[in-house]
């Protein structure tokens, strides 16, 4: 059992403070593998709640509390003339106490495999009802403890430096290689100013597949000069660059969620999102420049340019939504495949692989990136993905299943008619059903798998020294997935 206190400052009278990340960090730092984390408010005007962190919903909650226990509604608690032994700074806060009665002062969250057991949309909130103040929660963790497992917490990072796991597969990107990237990400984010680091840390800690850094690290084994630390530095910079582009994309697409958490633009406003994206764009390019390999710098710079140009094309194409196969490929090659290809090529360049090997790996990455995006498009139609079905349709994001469904003789006319109008829930559901009932998803799946086979053929000419099964497995799993 571990007992501690969680302190935080609030900045407004009523405030839903999302403490999920802090709790995750506590669990990781403690090494708790299976058990529970218990929380108890140490105040009579702070409640606890588990709900969705959606900014407009939080305003709804605030309005609800105001309706149920309005401020200044003549609470007897606020009649100081009738109370005994009141402090000089006693606040007028009868409403806050009444609101706390509507919430709870206690919460227990289960912990499994070293992480909180929360549904996709669940966040844990400390609810300030009489702020701004400094607040405190009592926290107890109990259950089975193992080794601390947080790659992103500075303390854990320091602990794991000397802790390379015996039997870890250097080539797979799941053992020490992966740890090195997480350490490097943690190290870089630790050094940055909070206004930019906090939003980026939230995005990085939310997970992501880390495919691009894995590709960098894997291909950095190809040539004669393998330096795991330089490879990890490049891999982390590529991941930061990728996340920087996502932050701007989310603002452009008006997305409110990414990896199950509010986007930077939704949580902190578009001005902050632009600044955070710019900061990490610049920082990532600096980190890559500091590696000192001109070919690597040039490869990543080319990819970045391709991504930005494709993003402009993508937005322009939304006028003729859902577009056609040719324009889809043009956008996807830039938006997604360019950084996959650059990750593969730059890792190989870092290891001083031959130009033929670099080009073969670049083609592997390009084909894999396109296939990956096609699989991603299919996830939008999968009810078991954990993501809201039809989100791409709602946001009019370029999607190959939609393009194929719109071309379909049977469902095509209705799909095109629906997409041409405004898209409410009924229309999105109908389009989703039409796509599922057509052979569009099968066509996209077949095409993605064919691209993966093409990608794997590119590897045949490369001496992979035991890495082939990993690269093959990574390519196939990028397509055969449900999330």
């Amino acid at each position: 059992m571990i007992a501690q206190r969680l302190r935080f400052k609030t900045s407004s009278p009523t405030q839903f403070v999302d403490i999920t990340d802090k709790l995750r960090e506590e669990v990781r730092n403690s090494g708790l593998r299976m058990g529970r984390i218990h929380l108890q408010s140490l105040h009579t005007t702070v409640g606890l709640a588990v709900n969705e962190n959606e900014p407009l919903l939080l305003r709804d909650f605030e309005s609800l509390l105001e309706r149920l226990a309005p401020t200044g509604a003549g609470y007897e608690h606020d009649d100081f003339a009738r109370r005994f032994e009141i402090a000089l700074d006693e606040p007028v806060n009868g409403h806050a106490h009444c609101r706390q009665l509507l919430l709870t002062g206690f919460a227990t969250v289960l912990v499994e495999n070293g992480d909180l057991v929360l549904g996709r949309w669940q966040s844990v909130f400390a609810v300030e009802l009489d702020g701004p103040r400094t607040r405190e929660l009592a926290v107890q963790l109990d259950g089975e403890f193992g080794k601390s497992s947080s790659p992103l917490s500075p303390g854990a990072a320091a602990r794991s430096v000397g802790g390379r796991r015996a039997g870890g597969d250097v080539g797979s990107g799941t053992g020490p290689d992966r740890e090195l990237v997480e350490l490097e990400l943690a190290r870089q984010l630790l050094a940055d100013p909070d206004p930019v680091a906090v939003p980026m840390r939230r995005l990085v800690e939310a997970g992501g597949k880390r495919l691009r850094p894995r590709l960098v690290q894997l291909t950095a084994h190809i040539g004669p000069r393998h330096d795991p630390l330089r490879a990890a530095a490049l891999a982390a910079a590529v991941e930061l660059l990728h996340n920087a582009t996502l932050i701007h994309d989310d603002y452009v697409d008006e997305s409110t969620y990414r990896r199950g958490r509010p986007t930077v633009a939704a949580a902190e406003g578009p001005e902050r999102a632009i600044a955070v994206g710019d900061f990490y764009f610049a920082k990532a390019t600096r980190l890559i420049a500091e590696i000192g390999n001109h070919d690597v710098t040039s490869t990543i710079a080319d990819a970045l340019e391709a991504i930005c140009a494709a993003q402009i094309d993508d937005v322009a194409l939304r006028g003729g939504y859902p577009g056609d196969h040719e324009s889809y490929l043009k956008v996807v090659r830039g938006k997604t495949a360019a950084l996959f290809a650059a990750s593969c090529a730059s890792g190989a360049q870092l290891s001083e692989a031959t130009p033929d090997e670099v080009e073969a790996l670049r083609r592997y990455g390009d084909l894999l990136g396109v296939a990956f995006q096609m699989a991603d498009d299919m996830v939008d139609f999968s009810p078991s993905s954990g993501k809201p079905v039809g989100l791409d349709i709602r946001q009019r994001v370029l999607s190959l299943p939609l393009i194929y469904a719109a071309e379909d003789k049977e469902v095509g006319p209705e799909v095109r008619r629906l997409l041409a109008g405004s898209l409410g829930d009924a229309e999105v559901n109908r389009v989703t059903d039409l796509v599922r009932s057509s052979n569009a998803l099968k066509r996209v799946g077949d095409e993605a798998r064919a691209l993966v086979e093409g990608a794997l053929r590119e590897l045949e000419a490369v001496e992979l020294d035991g890495l082939r099964p990993t690269l093959v497995g990574l390519a196939r799993s990028a397509v055969d997935r449900d999330s």
Partner: protein, 129 residues
């Protein structure tokens, strides 16, 4: 002064409108700052600096956020500048420019007024000379 005459027209692919719309003047203003660099590199280094300044202005960094289209054009300006620097600048200058953008965007994220973009970029050019 046309971009073609300056032999930088190839670097303006998809940005042609910007050249007439202020990028040309911004470019001219950086020519003095690149004086100490190799003559062959000067046009592209001045253009890289001008693209960064124009890109940040298009995005609305430090002010009101731009709409989607100008933001993306701003992103492309920054990416183009990054590629120009990767191909034509020393590692020292690449790092100096990146640090300047980091400083300006950190200021913007903190709500601090950080001074004109041009001052940061001219300083970067001078420090890496």
């Amino acid at each position: 002064m046309t971009a073609q005459a300056l032999q930088i027209d190839r670097e303006l692919d998809r940005l042609d409108g910007l050249w007439e719309d202020g990028l040309q003047d911004t470019y001219k203003s950086y020519l003095a700052a690149v004086d100490g660099y190799a003559p062959a590199d000067r046009p592209r280094l001045a253009l890289a600096a001008a693209l960064i300044e124009s890109g940040l202005r298009l995005q609305g960094l430090g002010g009101r956020a731009a709409a989607a289209a100008p933001l993306l054009m701003g992103d492309l300006c920054l990416a183009r500048a990054s590629r120009l620097l990767a191909d034509h600048a020393s590692q020292t200058l690449q790092v100096a420019f990146a640090r300047a953008i980091e400083k300006m965007s950190a200021n913007a994220a903190s709500g601090e007024a950080g001074g004109p973009v041009r001052d940061f970029l001219v300083l970067a050019l001078e420090s890496a000379r």
